[in-house]
Amino acid sequence: MTVERIEKAFLILSAAMLIAFLGALFYSSVAMGMHLPGREGEIVPTDVRNTPPFDQPGVHEVGAGEYEVVVLGRAWGFEPSEIRIPAGSRVTFISTATDVIHGFHVEGTRMNAMLIPGQITRLTYEFDEPGEHLIICHEYCGIGHHLMYGRLIVEEGS
């Protein structure tokens, strides 16, 4: 089978693009520390509020510039509904839902996770710029879905 020169160029070009895309992804996850939401463990959804750490939803400082935020999603709101953290800190979100599946999308970032009843999801992100982000439930959760939002405020660092 003879392949025309220009067609061959096209084939090589598209293969090269594909390799470049995958390379960029690999680089971002290995060298730049980009994390996708990960499954951390299981939990009995009816007993979430008595199971640590979800008995104390909120922001917890775990080290210098290291924070852990325990988030609960329920119909129709987040606990805590307002998260305040200083700029330049590295934040790990540990989250689940108490009733149905909700979403946890921090606007203006690539942080987006499903809050799934029965599953604990972990997300890590570094907030460098001070500012205010809306937290949106992206997963349709019934009649009050449009009312389900929270706020994440990155405060001027010390």
Binding site: F10, S14, L18, F21, L22, L25, S28, S29, M34, L36, P37, G38, R39, E40, V44, P45, T46, D99, V100, I101, G103, H105, E107, G108, T109, R110, M111, N112, A113, M114, I116, P117, G118, Q119, T121, R122, L134, I136, C137, H138, E139, Y140, C141, G142, I143, G144, H145, H146
Partner: protein
Amino acid sequence: MSVQIENDPDTHAEETGIWSWITTVDHKRIALMYFATSLIFFLIAGAQAILIRIQLFRPANDFLSAEVYNEFFTMHGTSMIFLVAMPMAVAFFNFVVPLQIGARDVAFPRLNALSYWIYLLGGLYLTSSFFFGAAPDRAWTGYANLTLPQFSPGLNMDFWLIGLSIVGISSIMGGVNFITTIINMRAPGMKLMRMPLFTWMTLVTSFLLVTAVPIISVALIFLGFDRIFGAAFFDPARGGDPVFWQHLFWLFGHPEVYILILPAFGAISDIIPTFSKKPLFGYPIVVYAGILIGFIGWGVWSHHMFTVGLGPFADSFFIAATMIIAIPTGVKIFNWLGTMWGGSIRFTTAMLFSVGLLAVFTIGGLSGIMHASAPVNLQQHDTYFVVAHFHYVIVGGTMMGLWAALYYWFPKAIGRYLDETLGKWHFWTTLIGLNLTFFPMHFAGLYGMPRRIFTYPEGLGLEIWNQLSTVGAVIFGLSGLIMTWNVIQSYRKGERAPADPWGASSLEWALPSPPHHYNFPNIPTVRSREPLWDEEERREVEGVTMAPPKAEPHMPNPSYWPFLLAASITLSWALVMTGIWWVIALGMIPTATCVFMWAFEPAFPEGAEH
């Protein structure tokens, strides 16, 4: 220069009248019924879309209540996929495939009629939920565990899961029928690699139907057990897993995307060569690309689920597979461009829609590649960006392709042209309307507007994009009305069409328009990929297809059992809603009776050889 028709219409005419339509097993009549029904559902689901858009025109609008809004977007999505796009493609499978391969009907004519009646009655059952004030309201994806009875009381989701189960039966049977027809009933010389692309893509789609649709059927049955009989497949409180639903749904849902798009690809692969006066560029590559899409389509479903947290290995696999599937699709786009290159192009309405598909579908394809990358996907997941993407693919791909097919095959089916002036109006309002509706949604999504919200507050910068979308939706709605008007008018008094109005290459154009009810008076022999574009072969073929039949063609008996069986299957399923075991058991009696009676009814007239 066609051969004179010396057919005595009286001896071979088909009956008319309501009863003949109810009992018909003729694939061409079933095709017309499929098309008319899907057109009506298209108008209903389209009206819902326009009401949705009016609600979103202003922030904090109260044109619709949240409850009605949720019902509308759920039924809009469910109907457009299962009651419009799929069956409208099946209408063309039905009409075109037997004619293209030189067969007198499909392999199982009564099963074909059954498919149609189940689709009609299942669709009516699903839509009737509005009259009971219990329309489904949990989105077309029906994510568990929101759909479990403790979070969705009422009959709403019962209507949804039972309605889709009924319609699914029709799709599976349709797939079986077309695979058998295409494999077994080709005319002599019609080798696989001589089949027109539309038939090829029908074959690939049919394989996807029989493999993918059972998955959603199983998922729906699990959900039905959860809802009606208290099982716990998807209930995390009792050890079930809601993510299991997502896997099942998208394992069906992603091949479903290719079920929707491949028929459109097939149609324009026949239309573009006709109006470019050139054979399809790289025919085998287009076929292989279609098959490859069918295969890789099975390995990409979890790109709908990057936010679930599947782990880095699974995420990377689905990123790679999703990027790879763009390749065969891109190959096809270049093959169509290659076909047009240097051809003498005629811009009929069918060709305009085909070229429109190339342009608009490609935009949807590009945003699809953006989603493939998980970090980008996370920013767009369940925002209006995704809504923009899949409407570009389904409206700009599937629907544009089906409308191209409509303008192309209408003269063959009815014997009259669709009006070309109205057709151009239809095309331009579609093109402007759909871009104006869906392009601004990309921006609304990037500004963070989530899907499925019934209203949004002021001051988030979402107003302008939503207003543009609403204006576009009204224009797009207008295009649907123009098309409907065109179909009705041209059906009654359109310009008469000859046997081969477009100078096309495949077998169906060697028959009179509309064809005899037995399609081919005598079965032709095929010697090439474009039998009608070779002077000598065309004479040979038409010598057979335009002559009176040598022997009386034996066509299958009409039957009312398909209709009765479809009605009793719908009834059996509807009674499951009661949740009372003996009612459900009694409800199966009519179905069993109809199956029994069907089995003992002779399919062909006494003594007929076939």
